[in-house]
Symmetry: C2
Subunit: 151 residues, 2 copies
């Protein structure tokens, strides 16, 4: 803590669990460290494969706790298991590369403004929303330009 730490959003998942009154165990430490280290979005099964020393049930339970704590976002993937990504930005939306599956985050004030304007048109009370943008990420665009059809 050399400088004021209020700026940086702490991505300390194990703390998020402790804050909920959960115990600090080696299994939970292994799961949260792995998630923090990877950085990318992941599926529950991927995590299980990467952490064979942690029981499958525990991996799933820990993920659920992190989602409940708001520390992980659960993204619904059509035709596939949901993916999880660390919530870095307070309220945000996701970009998902339809080629490689890379997940990004963004927030855009206009989106929120649109939501408010929609309230008039919609039959009922708005209680939330979800939005995903499907992209071809720059990496995939570059790969495509190089390799093209004959890999």
């Amino acid at each position: 803590m050399t400088t004021d730490s209020a700026q940086k959003i702490e991505i300390n998942l194990i703390n998020a669990l402790e804050d909920r009154g959960l115990r600090k165990t080696s299994a939970r430490a292994a799961v949260t460290q792995r998630i923090e280290a990877a950085g990318d979005a992941f599926t529950a099964e991927q995590l299980c494969r990467e952490l064979p020393e942690v029981g499958r049930a525990t991996v799933y339970r820990t993920i659920r706790h992190l989602v409940d704590a708001g520390a992980l976002c659960k993204l619904p993937i059509l035709d596939g298991a949901p993916m999880y990504s660390v919530a870095r930005v307070e309220h945000h939306h996701h970009t998902i590369c339809s080629r490689c599956g890379a997940v990004g985050e963004f927030r855009h004030s206009t989106v929120e403004r649109v939501m408010r304007s929609l309230e008039k048109e919609i039959d009922g009370d708005i209680v939330g929303h979800r939005m995903e943008i499907f992209i071809t990420c720059n990496q995939c665009l570059a790969d495509n330009a190089k390799g093209d059809s004959h890999a």
Copy 2:
């Protein structure tokens, strides 16, 4: 066809299948009729239960064909099986009541405009998007006002 039929969007699911070169069978007729009659969004398993005379595999296959044909929308539901609803509006988004699960459709030009403005901010090519609005529908609001906590 008393008047010009161009106005009304035909919701003829069996025709959508025929247009794709698929045969008109009694099983497909049963599935599509049921979907049209219900009107509401549904899950694959619900349809299977309502149509015990049609094999489970056939129900799933028919749904898939209808989605491929663009006649059904497949909505990802977190913590649950995807729901399907008949696509009545060309490009649109969905409202989902978080109490009763009722699904509605809407389109809003501002949403599309926002999408275009996002292109500058996003790192890659936008190839699509999805948006769901979670609501408490008027029906549920009314039920709540009446019954309240002591059903």
